[in-house]
């Protein structure tokens, strides 16, 4: 088991949330704006505290984890990162190795991990470019590479496909599903119910800071629940959610 939350609550966003997550698989968190998805993800990443209730990772309460040890297991991808200084894409990815290095410079192993992560995220062609000169989608993939360079057991993503074109959206979801199948736990906030339906192993639907639905996406995303949570009438047609006009 990886995350276990019991009556988890925060000053804003998250009101009362309980769940158990397996050690691997691809979990999608869906819900309308302001439902508390990002706040929940922030708490799980150890970035929002103090929280009320309990949230444990590998049976250790989050506040008791040492930052560095936690960062070797859990990586977090924000929606976007704004960089003011001329770091290259590769330098941004190299920062993912911080929890491993005690030295002034990264080790050869660090560079090998970075190389691998950049290949997986498909950002090798612009490794030497200034991060600020990249497009939104390219930046998002560099941030993904930086998280992969942490070699985490758990990957938390906040709407990773916001700036991606169709092709890279699909590639991202395929990658997340493959990582989940390969033994990693991937938890991603998403607005695209159809992509979640196709790729995720499990869906957590949030509304008003609470869990409104939890289970395999095909069971959770029923027209009933979607109307109740999102206030939109839909049909399920051949395994796809169809929105009315």
């Amino acid at each position: 088991m990886s995350f276990r939350a019991r009556n988890l609550a925060f000053a804003y966003g998250v009101a009362d949330v309980s769940f158990d997550l397996d050690a691997c698989g691809f979990v999608a968190i869906a819900g309308p704006n302001g439902a508390g998805k990002s706040t929940l993800l922030g708490i799980m990443a150890g970035l929002r505290h103090p929280y009320r209730g309990s949230c444990a990772y590998e049976n250790v309460e989050l506040r008791q984890w040492r930052r560095r040890d936690f960062a070797r297991r859990v990586a977090f991808l924000p929606q976007t990162v704004r960089v003011e200084f001329p770091f290259t894409a590769e330098q941004v990815v190299l920062m993912g190795r911080t929890p491993y290095g005690g030295g002034w410079y990264e080790s050869p192993q660090d560079f090998a991990a970075v190389e691998e992560a950049m290949r997986t995220a498909d950002v090798l062609p612009f490794r030497a470019r200034d991060f600020r000169s990249l497009s939104g989608g390219e930046r998002q993939r560099v941030i993904l590479a930086s998280a992969l360079a942490q070699q985490p057991r758990t990957l938390l993503l906040d709407e990773p496909t916001t700036f991606l074109d169709l092709r890279h959206q699909l590639a991202m979801y395929r990658l997340l599903a493959a990582l989940g199948a390969g033994g990693m736990l991937v938890v991603s906030v998403t607005h695209d119910l159809n992509l979640a339906l196709q790729f995720a192993d499990r869906a957590l639907v949030m509304r008003d800071g609470r869990i409104a639905g939890d289970g395999p996406p095909r069971e959770v995303f029923s027209p009933d629940l979607i109307e109740r949570v999102f206030g939109v009438r839909v049909e399920i047609d051949g395994g796809w959610i169809r929105y009315g006009r």
Binding site: G42, A45, G46, L47, R67, R68, D69, F70, A71, R72, V74, A75, F76, P78, V81, R82, V83, E84, F85, P86, F87, T88, E90, Q91, V92, M95, G96, T98, P99, G101, W104, Y105, E106, S107, P108, F111, R119, T120, D122, L124, P125, F126, R127, A128, R129, R132, L148, Q150, R167, H168, A171, R174, L175, A178, L179, A181, G182
Partner: protein
């Protein structure tokens, strides 16, 4: 990850030219070495330059007046300029990184002015601990400016700069008030000091300054890898294992100490922390492991050269070093402001 990673970009997947790790390290080392050599060269040459011509051999042979001019008039002043320049440009890098704002600098944030108020208070009331008062003024202004610019969990760069400008005005109003109530000799001391001139100081004072400034700078430089992450973001650093709270507090304390102590001896010297780090970033990139040590040495060299110019350009009249750095730094600041507006996300 699944054996054969999927390549989806249309570009040919030929990895761009990449540096070997050793090459990165050796380039950083050579950049630092060059900066260090520049600083040492400036430090050795500057005391020999001036309105009176002196020779190094006569100075070391204790021949008068070369000996007195070299060791009591020029060398302490050059050392002060070097320590001050190093401290101010390291502080500039530090503030820019922590505030994620390329325009941040002790002077633009009003921190130098806060230190000035402390020092002027010291002069007016005849207190000896001007250094401590400056430090207090610097820390107080930093707290106020940060407090004003904090919007929830984020800092607004726009508010930050306006708060800095406002604190500058308030600080100078206080200084003018103190000035108007001062006696004639105090008044002279205040104006001399405010121009940001470097005067010869006693070696014991210099030793004290070095004893605090050098270890603080070393401690800042040692944390370079963490500053890299903090320069991207708080959450970014925290989710990669950095204890951001402690790091930020250390950064602000170190910045206040460096600005406060140096300002108490040199007067408000602006823009060193802006010009030096930016010039270096253009050439060396943003990695603080190169940027910080190079800023330390280049800052020392820069202020040393500025001070030598200030002594010699229209000798025997002296232009205060602060005037020179402001004349160079003001236009530079405006250029930065303009180029930043053109960039994509502002």
């Amino acid at each position: 990850m699944d054996g054969k990673p999927e390549i989806v970009s249309g570009q040919a997947c030929v990895p761009a030219e990449r540096d070997k790790p050793e090459r990165i390290a050796s380039r950083a080392a050579s950049a630092t070495l060059i900066a260090a050599i520049a600083a040492i060269a400036a430090g050795l040459a500057s005391p020999l330059i001036g309105s009176a011509h002196i020779s190094l051999s006569r100075a070391f042979a204790r021949a008068s007046p070369d000996y007195e001019i070299f060791f009591y008039a020029r060398l302490p002043r050059v050392l002060l300029a070097m320590i001050g320049g190093a401290a101010l440009s390291v502080t500039g890098v530090l503030f820019q990184c922590m505030l994620r704002d390329p325009l941040a600098e002790p002077y633009t944030l009003g921190v130098s002015s806060g230190a000035s108020v402390g020092a002027v208070l010291g002069i007016c009331f005849g207190l000896r601990a001007t250094g401590l008062l400056s430090l207090g003024g610097a820390a107080l202004v930093l707290l106020i400016v940060l407090g004003i610019a904090m919007e929830g969990r984020r800092l607004s760069s726009f508010t930050l700069m306006l708060a800095g400008v406002t604190m500058n005005s308030i600080a100078f109003a206080i200084i003018l008030f103190l000035h108007s109530t001062a006696t004639f000799s105090q008044s002279f001391a205040i104006s001399r000091w405010l121009m940001g001139g470097l005067d010869a100081v006693e070696y014991s004072t210099l030793a004290w300054l070095a004893l605090i400034v050098l270890p603080v700078c070393a401690a800042v430089i040692r944390l370079a890898r963490q500053w890299n992450l903090l320069a991207v973001g708080d959450d970014w650093a925290a989710s990669r294992g950095v204890s951001t709270g402690a790091l930020v507090i250390f950064g602000y304390v170190a910045g206040s100490v460096l600005t406060g102590l140096v300002t108490s001896l040199t007067g408000p010297i602006g823009f060193v922390g802006l010009i030096v780090p930016h010039a270096l970033r253009l050439r060396l990139g943003a990695d603080h492991r190169v940027l910080l040590p190079c800023s330390f040495f280049a800052g020392a060299a820069f202020l040393c050269v500025c001070d030598t110019l200030s002594r010699t350009v229209i000798a025997p009249t002296e232009i205060p070093a602060g005037v020179l750095t402001a004349l160079a730094g003001g236009p530079f600041f405006i250029w930065l402001l303009r180029s930043r507006r053109r960039s994509l996300w502002l």
